[in-house]
């Protein structure tokens, strides 16, 4: 392959370190943020070099909307949360990723945002597996 050409998609190292895989959807990989303070999912479109939602093709944008919808509904169903928070920020990790977070009145950052709110608190391995299984079942 010629230098500079990128055949495939490589997950950003920081996203890989902070989250665990759940399932592959049509456009995105769905992952769990490994932070037990909030039920927190990430959708990562498998498109190399894309940083902004508006840099996706119109079809990919429609797919992302559809997959974010599915994910939000599944998360709301299994958590019975007060509110879903959906966001594409990317100030720190530029690779496009969409946060879908279940928020409940009185949670660790309520009613403020979850980003930048102290250090991540990893799950026990079994708890993370159970959460992933519940999400897969609810999708």
């Amino acid at each position: 392959m010629l230098p500079g050409l990128k055949a495939g998609f490589t997950l950003d190292a920081r996203l890989e370190a902070d989250s665990e895989p759940v399932i592959w959807l049509g456009l995105c990989e769905l992952r769990i943020m490994n932070d037990k303070r909030w039920p927190w999912l990430l959708l990562i479109p498998q498109r190399p070099g894309v940083e902004e939602i508006h840099d996706l093709t119109p079809l990919d944008q429609a797919m992302l909307t559809f997959e974010a919808n599915l994910t939000a509904q599944a998360l709301k169903k299994i958590t019975a949360c007060t509110k879903i928070n959906t966001a594409a920020l990317g100030n720190i990790v530029r690779q496009l990723h969409v946060h879908v977070v279940a928020r409940t009145e009185g949670d660790a950052a309520w009613p403020g945002p979850v980003w930048g709110h102290g250090p991540r608190e990893p799950y026990e391995r079994d708890d993370l597996g159970r959460f992933a299984e519940a999400i897969r079942a609810a999708l």
Copy 2:
């Protein structure tokens, strides 16, 4: 009209107090958050009683994606910002609204989120008008 039936859409009083109108799009009213610390727009779908993106119809979701795309591109064009932050949170104001914020390295909250970051700093009236005009021209 029968009690309990809601004919039209009424903008949440807090959104109305904190932001100023820019233009009506197909689904949403586009408004400027009256906080000069960041170029910050709000998209408010004109659908009564909706709190979550996934509670919109599929067509409305597609429209919202399209309008958020237009808005983000216009905002990026006029600000030359580092990164667009797009989010639907709603922990405080439940009426569905989507934030589209232009973030630049070193801005008042960089790289953290803008929500809950100290008190709002209103624009001078002329500056707000110029910003609204620039957005309308870029759309």
